[in-house]
Amino acid sequence: MQDIKDTVKEVILAVLPITIVIIILQFTLLWLPMEIFLQFLVGVVMVSSGLILFLLGVHLGLLPVGEMIGSALPKTKKVWLIILVGFFLGFVVTVAEPDVRVLSSQIDDVSGGEISQMLLIHSVALGVAIFVALAMARIIFDIQMKWLLVSGYGLVFLLAAFTPGSYIPISFDAGGVTTGPMTVPFILALGVGVAAVLRGKSSSSDSFGLVALASIGPILAVLMLGVIYG
């Protein structure tokens, strides 16, 4: 019960303030047709209740599995298996991430279908997958986070020089949306599990950077799309 209460509160706190600002704007500045305004309110109700249901479902059924995998996996001591599972987990979780869906359908719309939603989602997911696998490798081989971040961003700026301008904002936005309610807890659960079992010490500084790494992948992936299709 406490879970339900917390989740409801969490979602309402995230949605309500902006809704209030929009309502104030509507009756002072915007004066949109009532139909559109009501459509917005319908959206508020549906998005909030959908998000509550989704988060509850993730906490009840999905996250525990992520944690179990995270702690069971390293006990096999098979490096290739840990990296491989990291890769697939990164992929499937990103495909299910609500924010990634929303951003990609918006980009599909605005580009008039030129950058299709399917292509975008799968490239972003592939980007996350590769970087989660890299992050696992980092924990196993004890590579300094700083170097991975610096070379990751170095590559981003290098690729950006070869990609058409219209892909650049999209790519950085794609990096921002992968850190959503689905991806972050899953990746952290996996990383913490792997670090704890492999090194047997507090993993707070080991798991660090997982989220940052996971958001470099999509930037690179979308920039690559630009190089190929642009």
Partner: protein, 249 residues
């Protein structure tokens, strides 16, 4: 009056099925080769899957029938105002209030207060982040109005982040980098972005694809920069001793 609620819901259901199917297959493979959980846990997982399915469907449907069309019309209307500079304070207010109430932000703030031994209080963090995100969105609106490229913000932003990574201690860098997602709450991507796209579509000489997007990138950068900057200030101003004893790793 004609309110659309379930138009195109079939497509959304199909999309959600496609979204969750890979995850389901992944779990099933794991279940059979690896985990072999007992019935009770499986039942919970099934329940969770069904709830996530319904929730995601409702969420996406709400975004499609409510937030996208309304956000874009609002953006167009705001972009056609006689005084478009109003977009800048409006952007600031939207970013500020969204962050101020966001639960994920509060968790980050608690964490920072703890690590800094109370020197960087939750309140300082909360205002820093809320103002930071407000500025990010205001800057994005300014970018649409004036039309300079995203580079002007992104290059210095990331350059500072990388530089700070080498100056700041591991403790703060770790919090900073894992904080990237806290400010990009559900309303930013679904609604504020739709407004920006709407504004860009009615502003002369702007390409909605090129100028409308890019906002989330700035919002995601804000918490990282805030934590790193406050962390360095804390270490410079006397938190040093305490910090040494805290970072044994």
């Amino acid at each position: 009056m004609n309110i659309i609620i379930f138009e195109g819901f079939g497509d959304v259901l199909l999309e959600v099925a496609m979204a969750l199917l890979p995850l389901l297959i992944f779990f099933l493979v794991f279940q059979f080769v690896f985990l072999k959980l007992e019935k009770e846990k499986l039942l919970n997982i099934a329940k969770g899957m069904i709830m996530s399915f319904c929730g995601l469907a409702l969420f996406l449907q709400g975004v499609h029938v409510g937030f996208f069309p309304a956000g874009e019309v609002m953006g167009e209307k705001l972009g056609e105002l006689s005084s478009t500079w109003l977009l800048i304070p409006i952007g600031f207010v939207l970013g500020f209030v969204a962050t101020f109430a966001e639960p994920a932000v509060r968790i980050l703030n608690e964490q920072v207060e703890k690590v800094s031994g109370g020197y960087i209080s939750e309140k300082v963090m909360l205002y820093t982040l809320s103002i930071g995100v407000g500025i990010s969105i205001a800057l994005s609106m300014l970018r649409i109005l004036i039309g300079f490229p995203l580079w002007y913000f992104i290059i210095p932003g990331y350059a500072i982040v990388i530089l700070m990574t080498f100056l700041s201690s591991n403790r703060f860098t770790s919090i900073a980098f894992d904080s990237g997602g806290v400010a990009t709450g559900p309303m930013t991507v679904t609604f504020i972005l739709a407004i920006a796209v709407g504004v860009a579509s009615v502003t002369d000489g702007r390409d909605p694809l090129m100028d409308g997007f890019g906002m989330i990138a700035l919002v995601a950068l804000t918490p990282i920069l805030s934590v790193l900057i406050l962390g360095i200030m804390y270490e410079k101003k006397g938190g040093k001793k305490e910090h040494v004893s805290q970072s044994e790793t």
